[in-house]
């Protein structure tokens, strides 16, 4: 059995969270609230690190005065707490949404659309031909504007089956990923903490 206080704390937190599988109880709630508090605190510390390294240091140490703009915009976000001037917070939100939209649209057009098409139409092997057929079939299932009739109606049907295979694979992968984490936690409890397993 470990004599390390950190291992004991980690072991107790692990057991407290796993106890929720049985039913909600005070030990779980203590661990849950500690987890949320420490996560939020960690996020704030990381955010402060970003502000300090990206904006404050270049502004104060190198005289890059343009960094005043995002700092002021960031502070303006807190205007939402003051009635009467809460609308000012819309400006930094608009800047953030603009940046996010620009990045998302560029990524969507380039990475999620054109690159996916160019990767799909490169056919050489049987598997690549199957991949092309499956992608077209799946896309045809999303095509709601016009009903496909006659022999073509089997294409969206094939697409539906392909999508079910994809969902099944995603489900299987997710379950196995979570199982791997669970095995890791059980190994920690029985091995690192209690020392009953090597």
């Amino acid at each position: 059995m470990s004599l390390d206080m950190g291992v004991w704390v980690a072991g107790l937190v692990t057991l407290a969270i796993l106890s929720h599988v049985w039913k909600e109880n005070p030990f779980y709630r203590i661990a849950e609230h500690l987890y949320v508090g420490i996560s939020a605190g960690h996020a704030v510390v990381m955010a402060w690190g970003n502000i300090r390294d990206t904006a404050v240091k270049p502004l104060t140490e190198e005289g890059q005065f343009l960094w005043i703009v995002p700092i002021v915009l960031g502070i303006l976000l807190y205007a939402r707490y003051f009635k009467g001037i809460s609308w000012i917070a819309r400006f930094p939100v608009a800047v953030m949404v603009g940046i996010g939209t620009g990045v998302a649209v560029s990524g969507a057009i380039h990475g999620d659309f054109s690159q996916q098409i160019s990767a799909t139409i490169k056919v050489g092997s049987v598997n690549e031909i199957l991949l092309l057929v499956f992608v077209i079939a799946s896309l045809s299932y999303f095509f709601f504007s016009r009903d496909l009739k006659g022999p073509l109606s089997s294409v969206p049907q094939l697409g539906k089956v392909v999508l079910m295979v994809a969902f099944g694979a995603a489900f299987g992968t997710t379950v196995m990923g979570r199982m791997a984490l669970l095995i890791g936690r059980i190994q920690f409890i029985l091995g690192d903490w209690l020392g009953v397993m090597k």
Partner: protein, 210 residues
């Protein structure tokens, strides 16, 4: 001014970043490249301030619960206390200090891993309750999930060598095809939603309902 100016700012910034991505790097469009770079780094700073906004909201909610002495106030005290300790230690001594490292390694990290691990139980029980193999599609989904799970576990390979091979094939061909189609559909959705925002038809991000 209170509504149309933020929409205009959002549109100009988004278009600049899109242009920055697609224009060829040359001296005549250097200002677009430079603006895109500056705006993206501004985004990091403003998002960091927004993170603080989330923390303030969380604090407000729990401080109110403590001051009203609600039944669960004890848990709120734990949350607020742990959050303040983490922030004070992290900002005063840095994220490499022993206290910060203790809280991170022995509470945050194991709690996070256990939270994700415990989801395994809920996924499986939810699947048991909701999956009913009544149609071809649901049979396909169930069978695929079972093959992939057996393919990834040592027991699958012990039963038959087919499971790892079939699992790999499913993941690399039909799974890739399905996910690729979903990705393309989502990309079109992103673009169409962006156009709605540029035209001022979607202003929900400003807290406005149209």
């Amino acid at each position: 001014m209170k509504t149309s100016l933020p929409v205009a700012i959002m549109t100009v910034i988004a278009l600049l970043i899109i242009l920055d991505f697609f224009v060829v790097d040359s001296a005549s469009v250097q200002w677009i490249k430079q603006s895109g770079l500056v705006l993206r780094s501004w985004g990091i700073v403003i998002s960091a301030f927004a993170m603080g906004l989330g923390a303030v909201n969380l604090l407000r909610r729990h401080v109110v619960a403590i001051s009203r002495r609600e039944t669960d106030a004890f848990y709120s005290i734990l949350l607020v206390g742990s959050m303040i300790v983490m922030i004070v230690v992290g900002i005063a001594s840095g994220s490499t200090s022993p206290v910060y490292d203790f809280l991170f390694s022995n509470i945050l990290s194991p709690a996070s891993a256990t939270m994700y691990a415990s989801i395994a139980f809920y996924i499986v029980t939810a699947a048991y309750r909701s999956f009913s193999a009544r149609s071809l599609e649901s049979w396909v989904l169930l069978l695929t999930a079972v093959i992939v799970m057996l393919g990834k576990a040592p027991i699958g390979a012990a039963i038959s060598g087919i499971f790892p091979v079939a699992s790999d094939w499913i993941e690399s061909i039909p799974n890739t095809a399905g996910m690729r189609a979903i990705m393309m559909g989502a990309a079109l959705g992103v673009v169409s939603n962006a156009i709605k925002m540029f035209l001022g038809l979607d202003r929900t991000y400003l807290g406005l309902r149209d």
